[in-house]
Amino acid sequence: MKKKVLSLLLASAMVVSLAACGGSDAPAESSAAANNNTESSAADNNAGNAEAPAEEFKLEKVKMVVNGTLTATVDNGQAEFEKQWEDAVGVDLEISQLDHSGYVDAVGRLFASQDYPDVMIMSADMYAQYAPTGLLWDMTEAYDNAEFQSRMTLPAINEALKKDGKLYGFAPTYGNGCVTYVKKAWLDAVGIDASTITNYDAYYNMLKAFHDGDPDGNGTTGDTYGVVAAGFLGNEAPYINYLPEFWQDAYPAILQDENGVWYDGFNTEETKAALLRLQQAYNEGAIDPETLTASTKIAREKWFSNDQTGSSGVFTYWAGSWYQTLTDNLIKNEVNEELVQLPPIAEVEAIGGYLNREAPVWVIIDDMDGDNTREQAIFDAFIETMMDGGTVQTLWTYGAEDVHWSTKAEEFTVNPGTDNEKTYSYEEGVFHLKQSPNDPNSVWKKNHLDPALVVSPLTNGFNSVEGLAAEGNLFFTENCVDAPISPVSETYTNESGTIYDAKMAVVTEVVTKNGDVEAAMANYVATVGSIIEQCLAELNG
């Protein structure tokens, strides 16, 4: 009898514990219902909000999903940023920061589990795909009536994002793009003057010189490369921005011609020529072979590594604040930090210059209950304040006060005891950036918003865009052109993975396996030609 009682108790305990695990949300839901809405998660609100009178909606929490563009990461003062944002806005903020390079994958997994945030950042590609689905809230009216409209300096950025007159995502900055950086010390070592790099031949000869010579000065030739990048062809627009000198006038994606007709830019003579340029560079060591598999992080770290053996002289990467960041990393790794920003070579200039990508946007997830009060409240709390010109915009721009920046008098030294030791001294009341929370040897640069790219500037006069970052921004804006817009079609949405695989098959076949470009392209047509035709029919129909 004792055994039976014991087994019954044990079984009951396990069943209860199991049930408890599955039902942990129940009390919160009850509470939410009782309080006539508290939390704002889209998934949680489907039922409850519909019954709530619009004017009674009270936003208490915002669930946000972001990629690596929020530089106040968990180990870099995110808790303080979050706390100060909550204090300023009066709403709880739940930050979910996903892996930057795997953001699309991570968002897919998030959606697969029906775990929708309230707001999230999306690349132009993602925005183009999701905008017509109904998942994103139409914020046109909220945007038009926003308080920050009166301070907007770049209204065209968000106007360009409208689909059929409706705005589903807000871009707080313009897109930015990549420019080509060259190590000055390497140029000097091989005796090349940067001002002579004006066309592809000169550019390629420079890359070859970096491989065939000894630019790192270790006494060995052939152990360095011309250029390194994260892939020969990117997997998100504008695809070619890490190797623009090779791609030149080729844009290997579906794009519009001057008459607005969509066509496949991959299956073109321009792309074939670009692939042959890459093939030659790969074979001759002008391009680091690991470009095939490198992520942006690996390419970056290889480039500014302390041991320059195996590194490259050229790196095409983001303009503006990254100019400063790359320089700082070279200093930190005790590598000669002087960089040259290479103006677009003639072949790149022919298309207008470096590509300014379509801007990433913040979107609000629509709970589809037919009532906009929740979404409007999120817009007011999140997007309106992001552009308030004052406290909250400063948080998004520079981070948390007295953590990332301060106006208090202070003095600090970076890289003490090294050749790069530098002391910063500020008087009381002077805005300045502090040492990075996770790296006392570097000065904090920015948080999420680049102050030089923002569509509506700060009004408090706080400005840190100076030196290399300012120089970089100016250089980019003087040498850039808008990237082609991304296509949106049912077939393209369904088959973009297959299309990308087929493109990469051509790229690897030609570039790394010395394959015949015509044969590889014929294989591409055989594999996805009908899919592309269907996409084009939908786009042009």
Partner: protein, 320 residues
């Protein structure tokens, strides 16, 4: 239709109790089993309802749209799917045989070692790689095998004159000719040690009198290995092979961290193909990946049944 009663050897008929009565009599056991049943239903059977989405266009937004067998038609007419399917079977089965063979050999060598300290130390060393995550293993081997001037293996090949000093190193992980051998070697390095555990346990159970008898008969060490050790291991080897054969369709992590788009033709497996079709797209269609996943599961199911049949034939009892 009366109930079939059991009849004992002496001809006494035992009346079979009804199912309800038998459950009542053993209600304690059934109650103990209840949590397990609930767990299985919730976590193993309830998710199976999701297979219906193989017949739908199912995206993160909007209602699923019934499309019938569209995804299966697409799947069977896609070369990339068949490449992945073929690679899955080839990679898994070759890996299985290689790792089993290596584990047996290493187990026998370990068993033959007289010095207990050396044996234990070696065991510990070869077990350790098993505990490293595949991400770490991939990073380490990517560095070793890097085609750039910093790659250790290419450095050695250049020093030995196998690769021209000023030539480009071999990109082992991006070359279709090298990828599979490298993959097998990495798997052997990582899991051979762990695989020896079951064989060492079997070896420790062999009656020492058999070896003593071999000694008396003048058997050499090799002969004892061949005529005593290996036959004793045979049943375990077959068991391990059969049990692992049922899992061949599950290949994912080890491939995912080591492959790249230059070697899809030899490395892409069903699970990585599903992953790309699902998560590498801005707006995934779970319907298609569910269809591929369902097909993969069906093949896995067939393999389990085949293994069960093989197990019955060779061991006299099944695995399910």
């Amino acid at each position: 239709m009366g109930k079939k009663n059991n009849v004992t050897a002496s001809g006494i008929e035992i009346r079979k109790k009804s199912l309800g009565l038998r459950i009542w009599n053993h209600r304690g056991y059934y109650i103990m089993f209840l949590p397990v049943l609930i767990f299985l239903l919730i976590f193993n059977y309830w998710p199976m309802l999701g297979v219906r989405y193989a017949l739908y266009d199912y995206k993160p937004v909007g209602e699923p749209v019934f499309v019938g067998l569209k995804h299966f038609t697409k799947m069977f007419s896609t070369d990339a799917f068949w490449t992945a399917f073929k690679n899955t079977l080839e990679l898994s089965i070759i890996k299985l045989f290689l790792s089993t063979f290596a584990s047996v050999i290493v187990s026998i060598f370990l068993n033959e070692m007289g010095n207990l300290f050396a044996k234990k130390t070696l065991q510990t060393i070869i077990y350790l790689p098993h505990f490293m995550s595949w991400a770490v293993v991939a990073s380490i081997f990517s560095l070793f095998l890097s085609p750039s001037s910093t790659g250790m293996v290419n450095g050695l090949l250049k020093d030995w004159g196998i690769v021209a000093k000023d030539g480009m190193g071999i990109y082992f992980l991006a070359d279709e000719n090298y990828w599979r051998p490298i993959y097998y070697v990495i798997n052997l390095w990582k899991d051979t040690g762990w695989g020896t555990i079951i064989f060492l346990a079997t070896l420790s159970g062999i009656n020492p009198e058999l070896y003593e008898a071999g000694d008396i008969d003048g058997a050499t060490r090799l002969q004892k290995m061949r005529y005593i050790t290996l036959p004793a291991l045979a049943n375990t080897i077959i068991t391990v092979l059969i049990l692992n054969l049922a899992k061949v369709m599950n290949l994912f992590e080890s491939v995912f961290v080591l492959y790249n788009n230059a070697v899809y033709s030899v490395a892409d497996v069903c699970a990585t193909y599903i992953y790309r079709q699902t998560f590498a797209m801005a707006l995934p269609n779970y319907g298609y990946s569910t269809a591929v996943g369902l097909f993969r599961s069906l093949v896995g199911c067939v393999l389990v049944i085949v293994c069960n049949w093989a197990s019955k034939k060779t061991r006299g009892r099944g695995i399910i």
